[in-house]
């Protein structure tokens, strides 16, 4: 599958996007994108959508097309085979483009971080996406193997700015 190169058309100013980001405080629509995940994180995402966790009480709804989505729930270490499809799917998402990288595969590549068949997580791909003209406005990383349903809900809350993130870089002397 070939990757189409497109020059991004900047129709939105920074101000417009910030305004749009402020507006999606509630009722976000999510699109689930598997990029070579083991299905552990996908099952946890389904858990989130069941009546047990019932995220529709927050207005979060799963949609079938990336064109309807506000947030992309990305799982998996991004294998080389899935990268063109990832580009295609992310290009279809309207701005502001938000990505929630779920699971340790999507965040750091997990045990496949230096494998020949994967690109080793979402942080390694961002530069390549920018080259192809895909700007991602906000990314939130949710570690966990697999990430707990509560952790995913917490990640969405961090993304929307409802809670402050707990983890901070620490440097301690032994």
């Amino acid at each position: 599958m070939e990757i189409q190169r497109q020059v991004p058309v900047e129709i939105f100013s920074r101000k417009d996007l910030e305004k749009a980001l402020q507006r999606i405080k509630k009722s976000i629509w999510v699109f689930h994108l598997n990029t070579g995940s083991c299905n552990g994180c996908d099952i946890e995402i389904i858990d989130v959508l069941t009546p047990w966790f019932d995220v529709e009480r927050f207005g979060i709804k799963l949609v079938a097309s990336p064109r309807h989505a506000d947030v992309v729930l990305l799982t998996g270490p991004i294998t080389i085979k899935t990268f063109p499809r990832l580009v295609k799917a992310l290009r279809a998402v309207p701005r502001p483009r938000l990505v929630l990288a779920i699971g340790s595969c999507a965040v750091g590549g997990n045990i496949w971080f230096n494998s020949y068949a994967t690109l080793g997580g979402f942080p390694n791909v961002i530069d390549k996406l920018n080259e192809l003209g895909i700007v991602i406005d906000k990314i939130v990383y949710v570690p966990g193997c697999p990430a707990r349903p509560e952790a995913i809900i917490y990640g969405v809350a961090v993304m929307l700015g409802l809670v402050e993130q707990k983890t901070r870089y620490k440097k301690v002397k032994a």
Binding site: P51, G108, G109, P143, E150, V158, K171, A174
Partner: protein, 165 residues
């Protein structure tokens, strides 16, 4: 349609199952493993955890004048093998799982160690804490050889053997 009606009495009997997550505490069992915590006062920087870690979330690098034990939560698979293998029992498994962050750099935790320089070649090879510990354990071993890096030590030992003959 008729099949759907059967669900209604079951639903009425069971009632609401939804957990009130942000307001109620999540169910966390005793055997649950979350992010690990390295106790900097106990850690000697031996690197046993970095060898056992399956995804290499823990790494020990000697950069400049310090050895840095780096823990990347984003790559951790929460297996708890590092806590089992740690000879000093410095690694503790916590129940923390709400680790979402906007920057990858926020997911790192560094533990800095002082490094010993080789007496002969001046290369940095081991943390001073680990060297002190080995020194205590091997009281009969010559102190002069301990301050040498493995390569220089080999050369020193060999040259001694040669001069004896």
């Amino acid at each position: 349609m008729v099949k759907f009606v059967k669900v209604l009495p079951i639903a009425a009997k069971i009632g609401t199952v939804t957990i009130r997550y942000p307001y109620a505490k999540p169910i966390v069992t005793d055997s649950f493993r979350g992010a690990i915590e390295v106790d900097p006062s106990k850690c000697t920087g031996c690197g046993a955890c970095t060898r056992i870690c399956p995804p290499k979330a823990l790494s020990l690098n000697i950069e400049g004048g310090t050895a840095i034990l780096r823990y990347f939560v984003g790559r951790c698979i929460f297996c708890g093998m590092c806590a089992d293998i740690c000879p000093e029992k410095a690694i503790k498994i916590t129940k923390e799982f709400e680790l979402a962050s906007e920057q990858v750099s926020d997911l790192y935790i560094d533990v800095e160690h002082e490094v010993v320089t080789c007496r002969k070649c001046g290369s940095k090879f081991v943390t001073s804490k680990l060297l002190n510990k080995v020194e205590q354990k091997l009281s009969e071993f010559s102190k002069e050889l301990l301050s040498l890096c493995p390569r220089c030590r080999r050369v020193e030992m060999l040259s001694k053997q040669v001069y004896l003959r």
